[in-house]
């Protein structure tokens, strides 16, 4: 049977329907919020600079090279705070390749006169930066490749500052203006013209026999072992130095031709500083300029004109920081900063192959050699007669601030990050302690066990009365009214008859001087007097 509109409206007006509709609306809004929230963590766009994707702009080839050289690789998806947990930092390299997003953080205790720092820098939190610097201080090596990203906090911790502007180089480009060459004849000259490459395990050949010292049976005798013949397995982490050329089978060249893609540069005022063991090892050409006004073009601003022009190079694009002077202590921490996040992307790193939709061939470059040399320098610190890394050698790629393509990948990362953050950061730990304490209190206070069942007979406790009227019945006027009603009733008079009664008649009816006085005198009575009057009224009724 069809429902009439009036019935429909009546039904819609019921409490039950409205409650159901409200509940439905609540759950719809809740679902929308959840979908929106989770949806924000599912990024449909391609990620880049990931060690675990194989696109042209990822760095998976570098990772697979490391694996083939016997180095364990890991990814850190939660937070660099976990670097505190690494037991052998001197055999560990932490790689930050492009930082794409900010992270969640809480205000933190500064330990100085500011007491608390409410706002954190973009990118890594201060606790994370401290974890990274601590890692370096304990002998770890980091390689930071970023241009305009969020890793400035890490750089600042080492006294370096990104300029934040794009670098153009008219004197050393290839393919197009985005690809810039950085040529270095010797990247191991730190404070003098004398190269320190002798300290690098892949370069050190004391007797000049072509065998690097670590695998030379007698590093001091050129005749031993004789003919230069090193297999890739023997070469281990220095296998990329095998040229395959019979005349020069081993590459001893300490220079690198690095090909950068859309790089930035470090701020000239906060870049290399030899006194602080920050060595600028890679520079743009003198024809380079930094696009200070970000107009994408070279702009010349005459001095004093008030017009902001672009800066002329050269600029530092590669800085190496060592805890020890001239990086002589092999076990001391090192930090490599390159102002280009795409230095090791597959298309540039593995220039011999084309990846995905890549159509343009990339020029031969030394990016691979540079990266693997940096890894070898970090891991091969031990004079153990081999060029292979120890069993604890590892390279960790930071994926915590990369967008994830897998479904709920970022949600997983966020949860993992929160777990690590709340068990590592002091402020977060304090909050967590407080939360746990409150949770405990809440459980103790609010959570009750099921009541033991027993029958309770409880009617004897009920009772009703109206105590508000007691005061009214102790007023003189009320007592007077009761007395007059009594007089009227006992004399069987109606109200009208009683009202019309002369005063003398009424006095005669009452026939009691005290009560007559009580009725006719308008004055205040004490409690005792009223009690006496009431007693008299009771007695009067019985007369």
């Amino acid at each position: 049977m069809a429902m009439k509109p009036a019935d429909l409206f009546a039904r819609m007006n019921t409490h039950q329907f409205r409650r159901g509709a409200t509940l439905f609306a609540f759950y719809v809004v809740l679902a929308l919020l959840l979908v929106t929230l989770l949806g924000s963590f599912v990024n449909p766009t391609d990620s880049q600079l990931s060690a675990y994707d194989n696109d042209w702009d990822d760095i998976s080839k570098f990772r697979s090279d490391l694996n083939s050289m016997g180095v364990d690789t890991h990814s850190l998806v939660s937070s660099p705070l976990l670097l505190h947990e690494i037991k052998n930092p001197e055999e560990t390299v932490f790689i930050i390749a492009g930082v794409e997003k900010d992270t969640i953080s809480l205000p933190r205790f500064t330990g100085d006169e500011n007491v608390i720092q409410m706002k954190e820098n973009d990118g890594y939190t201060t606790s994370e930066v401290e974890a990274i610097t601590s890692f370096v201080a304990r002998g770890g090596t980091i390689i930071v490749m970023d241009d305009f990203g969020y890793s400035s906090g890490v750089a600042e911790a080492f006294g370096i500052e990104y300029s934040g502007h794009k670098l153009y180089d008219a004197g050393a480009w290839t393919l197009d203006y985005n690809y810039i060459w950085i040529n270095s004849s010797d990247s191991y000259k730190y404070t003098s013209n004398i190269s320190n490459s002798w300290n690098h395990p892949c370069f050190r050949d004391s007797d000049g026999d072509g065998f690097v010292d670590l695998i030379d049976p007698d590093p001091t005798h050129p005749g031993v072992p004789g003919t230069m013949a090193i297999s890739a397995e023997q070469a281990g982490l220095c296998a990329h130095h095998i040229t395959g050329n019979g005349a020069t089978p081993w590459d001893f060249d300490p220079g690198y031709d690095l090909l950068l893609n859309s790089p930035s540069a470090f701020d000239p005022e906060n870049s290399d500083d030899e006194e602080k063991n920050r060595y600028g090892l890679g520079f743009s050409s003198t024809d380079s300029y930094l696009d200070i006004n970000d107009d994408g073009d070279l702009t010349v601003g005459p001095a004093g004109s008030g017009f902001e022009g672009d800066m002329q190079g050269p600029f530092t694009v590669y800085i190496k920081y060592c805890l020890s002077r001239n990086c002589e202590d092999k076990t001391a921490g090192k930090a490599h900063f390159i102002s280009d996040g795409s230095l090791l992307i597959n298309s540039v790193y593995d220039y011999e192959n084309l990846y995905g939709s890549q159509e343009t061939s990339i020029d031969q470059n030394d990016n691979r050699k540079w990266a693997l040399d940096a890894i070898a320098e970090a891991i091969l610190y031990d004079e153990n007669g081999t060029l292979s890394g120890g069993e604890n050698a590892q390279v960790i790629f930071d994926e915590s601030l990369h967008q994830q393509t897998s479904f709920m990948g970022d949600t997983y990362n966020l949860i993992y990050y929160l777990l690590v953050y709340f068990t590592s950061d002091w402020m977060a730990m304090l909050l967590l302690f407080l939360t746990l304490f409150i949770a405990f209190e809440a459980v103790i206070i609010r959570k009750t066990d099921p009541e033991p069942w027993r029958h309770v007979f409880s009617i004897i406790y009920y009772g009703f009365g109206d105590s508000r009227r007691y005061g009214y019945y102790s007023r003189a006027n009320k007592v007077k009214q009761v007395l007059l009603s009594r007089v009227r009733n006992l004399n069987t008079l109606t109200r009208d008859e009683f009202d019309a009664l002369p005063a003398r008649e009424l006095q005669k009816m009452i026939n009691d001087p005290v009560l007559v006085k009580f009725v006719f005198e308008d004055r205040n009575y004490s409690l005792e007097q009223l009690v006496a009057v009431v007693k008299r009224i009771k007695m009067w009724g019985r007369k």
């Binding site: 029958h455 009617i459 009772g463 009703f464 007691y470 009761v482 009594r486 009431v534």
Partner: protein
């Protein structure tokens, strides 16, 4: 449902894991995970309430103060053990456990049956329901509990007490055509003596009072009260104000006892009884006789509850067409907070009804629960006496029923008046 122990264990487990992570202490984390795992494993074991339950009562209807015998038969019809279950038969709080327990812990195997027996005393009239049966499973470590219900209910009615009313204190002036045997206060054929009068021709000789003739020298005959039937109307005040006092002793409770007793008495005499209960509305049971009417009246009285504030005059006005001419009308009321009572009584008396006002003294009931200042109490009593005097002045016979006075004794006040 989690117990406090389980909640604490879970919180401790999580706290230990997190603190273990903070301190990089694996022992703490392992203990925390052990706590959580222990909870998880315990959560797998549960009992079940697939039981067949039958409740047997000794009576469905009983009088206030009587005992009720209850037997609960519980059978596990499933093929597995129930695990440790608590069984609790929900009994109204107004009932007192006289013997036995309505609670048992059982662990029944497949097909097993057990019984719970207990005795309840019902000190309060009303409509009550026993049940449902609550079942609770607690696991061995008291970490989880699960409550279930078997919606098995048994309804009982507790009637107000019926007390003896020894004397017939009411006689209607108007006979009724059909049933009943109330003595009318008019001379006529009957058995009870009415008065002496002079002999007139036609009087049967058997009625001549020879002793009176010997004493006076004139022929005198005995006149008898006419035996006839009548309707008796009971008006019970169930307004909110009638709750003053304790639950067991208040004007309404005493009123229901009076109404039940009077109706039992008159119905036993084959009169017809009509009952009107007024609170926020008027509930009227038309006049009728017999056991069925008795049951109806008792059921109606069992369900009355104090509420509302309907004036008596509205009741008498509404019932005026239903009142049989000359029938006695009982008004059972504390007379508190109703200014229309004198007018209603005056109207009834004016229409020839014999009005008997049975008034439980609410002030004295109030004293049972509240400390009334002595002077206020005396003034209130005086005012109440004024009220009763006024009603007596309108032609009603008024009974001031004190809490410690039996109904039969109170009713004697009418006879003596």
């Amino acid at each position: 449902m989690w117990t406090r122990k389980a909640a604490l264990m879970m919180t401790s487990g999580i706290a230990l894991v997190l603190i273990g992570m903070m301190m990089s202490n694996f022992q703490l984390m392992v203990i925390g995970i052990a706590f959580i795992s222990f909870l998880a494993i315990n959560g797998w074991v549960s009992g079940h309430g697939e039981l067949h339950i039958v409740r047997t009562l000794s009576a469905d209807n009983l009088y206030k103060g009587d005992d009720l015998y209850v037997e609960l038969s519980i059978t596990n019809n499933s093929r597995r053990r129930t695990q440790l279950l608590e069984i609790f038969d929900n009994v109204p709080h107004e009932m007192k456990m006289k013997s036995g327990l309505n609670y048992m812990m059982i662990n029944l195997g497949a097909g097993q049956t057990t019984r719970i027996r207990y005795v309840l005393r019902c000190p309060l009239r009303g409509h009550f329901s026993l049940g449902p049966v609550s079942i609770r499973f607690r696991n061995t470590f008291n970490l989880f509990s699960n409550e279930m219900f078997v919606d098995h209910r048994s309804d009982i009615i507790v009637f107000p007490q019926v007390r003896d009313v020894e004397e017939a204190m009411v006689r209607s002036k108007t006979p009724k055509m059909y049933t009943g045997a109330t003595t009318l206060r008019t001379p006529g054929p009957g058995t009870e003596f009415y008065s002496l009068r002079e002999y007139v021709p036609g009087d049967p000789f058997k009625n001549i009072n020879w002793k009176a003739f010997a004493r006076t020298g004139e022929l005198m005959v005995n006149e008898k009260c006419r035996d006839a039937v009548t309707d008796v109307f009971l008006l019970l005040d169930s307004r909110d104000v009638s709750r003053i006092g304790t639950v067991l002793k208040n004007p309404l409770e005493m009123g229901t006892i009076a109404a039940a007793s009077l109706s039992a008495y008159f119905l036993q005499r084959r009169d017809s009884i009509a009952l009107a209960v007024y609170d926020d509305k008027l509930s009227y049971l038309p006049a009728d006789g017999g056991d069925k009417q008795h049951f109806k009246i008792l059921s109606s009285l069992a369900g009355v509850a104090p509420r509302g504030n309907m004036p008596l005059q509205a009741v008498t006005n509404a019932l005026a067409p239903r009142f049989s001419r000359g029938s006695p009308v009982f008004i059972i009321s504390s007379l508190e907070g109703d200014g229309t009572v004198p007018h209603a009584v005056r109207d009834l008396a004016g229409r020839g009804h014999e009005v008997i006002v049975l008034s439980p003294s609410s002030i004295d009931y109030e004293r049972l629960v509240s400390r009334i200042p002595r002077m206020s109490y005396e003034v209130m009593k005086l005012e109440r006496q004024n009220r009763l005097t006024a009603l007596a002045g309108f032609g009603a016979r008024v009974i001031d029923w004190m809490p410690d006075v039996e109904l039969s004794q109170a009713l004697l006040q009418v006879k003596m008046a």
